[in-house]
């Protein structure tokens, strides 16, 4: 991933010369970059490599789906949320905790971007009570 597309942790996709609001595509790049950092850290647990790579793949798909229009302007608080989320992910140094965060980060980003209700989430095969 290039620097242009990755955005860097905490960049939050701000529009040049106008820190807020931001473009949704920039926030997406920030969240995806944070996900990659967690994935790389989690992959160091060899026994969990398959789980981590699949989880990262699902996470990327979930993040991409939460930003249908990359050019859309989003509120400043959303940009701040993604920025803070990426920074929090960047603080993780323990690979086990990184795997836990790999699971949670896409859902939090989705919520910050305006989606993520329990009823709206996809249902990929888990049973019901």
């Amino acid at each position: 991933m290039s620097d242009e597309t990755a955005g860097g942790l905490g960049s939050a996709g701000a529009v040049p010369g106008s820190p807020d609001p931001a473009r949704a595509g920039g926030l997406l790049a920030t969240a995806l970059a944070a996900l990659e950092v967690l994935s790389e850290l989690g992959e160091t647990i060899e026994d969990e490599w398959t789980y981590v790579t699949k989880l990262a793949e699902m996470g990327r798909a979930r993040l991409n789906a939460s930003v249908p229009d990359a050019g859309a302007l989003v509120p400043a608080e959303t940009a701040a949320a993604i920025d803070a989320l990426a920074n929090e992910a960047g603080r993780i140094t323990d690979p086990h905790r990184a795997i836990d965060w790999l699971s949670t980060l896409p859902a939090i980003a989705e919520l910050a971007l305006g989606g993520g209700t329990a009823g709206a989430a996809p249902r990929p095969g888990t049973g019901r009570a």
């Binding site: 789980y51 979930r62 803070a84 836990d100 939090i108 329990a118 049973g127 009570a129």
Partner: protein, 225 residues
């Protein structure tokens, strides 16, 4: 089929102290009526690095920001989750496990009645060796028996857990009992699905309740974000 208290080893005695900590019960009570977003907040904070509330306010504007629904509960969940996060890593891990068990107990009790819900129990069958590990939660009401294991994260789903639950279900069926078995996982549905997809142990007869579907334990529809 019959239920029995599990023998307590040293680990169980220590863990019982965690389970009895008022913070666990406080968190479980708060989370039982929480929205999806509030539960996601609890998971993130208890699993996070930051223990400054302002960080979490920035990350969760729709839960903790101006105009967010049920702000008192959201603030209380943040405060209690931070108390857990401020513990050492090992204690934090034990608190998280005890919290999920307690939350499941609160929710299941609303459907099955508190008197029927028990913790740390074995299920015994005629002619079958007892499992080493007790179940986190059982419902012991004639004709409506259930066994549940509770996990903080999807990584807790493994072959041992799935086999034990399925074995119990099959042994109960052999004795002509319909034993409901399941996993309660305080993690998102997609992660549980990924984890389950990697398992070869039988799981068709095992219910999996995730962060998004916790309210089903109480017999109600999910609370909106």
């Amino acid at each position: 089929m019959r239920f029995q208290d599990a023998a307590r080893d040293a680990r169980a005695v220590v863990y019982a102290g965690i389970q009895a900590d008022p913070l666990v019960a406080r968190l479980a009570t708060l989370a039982a009526d929480a929205s999806y977003g509030q539960r996601l907040l609890a998971r993130a904070v208890m699993n996070g690095e930051s223990t400054e509330s302002e960080t979490w306010r920035r990350i969760f504007p729709s839960v903790l920001g101006a105009g967010a629904p049920d702000p008192e509960r959201a603030e209380a969940i943040l405060a209690a989750s931070l108390e857990v996060a401020e513990r050492g890593e090992q204690v934090r891990s034990q608190f998280r496990g005890a919290f999920v068990e307690s939350l499941a107990q609160v929710l299941v009790a609303r459907r099955a009645g508190a008197a029927a819900v028990r913790r740390e129990r074995r299920v015994l069958f005629d002619g079958v060796a007892a499992e080493i590990h007790p179940y986190d939660l059982t419902v012991e009401a004639a004709g409506r028996e259930e066994t549940w294991d509770c996990k903080w994260g999807a990584r807790g789903i493994n072959a041992d857990v799935l086999n034990q639950l399925d074995d119990a279900r099959r042994h109960a069926a052999d004795e002509e009992h319909a034993l409901r078995v399941g996993l309660v996982v305080f993690d998102v549905r997609t992660s549980c699905a990924v984890r389950l997809s990697q398992q070869t142990a039988p799981r068709q007869g095992t219910a999996v309740v995730t962060l998004e579907t916790l309210d089903a334990l109480a017999g109600r529809k999910p609370t909106p974000a």
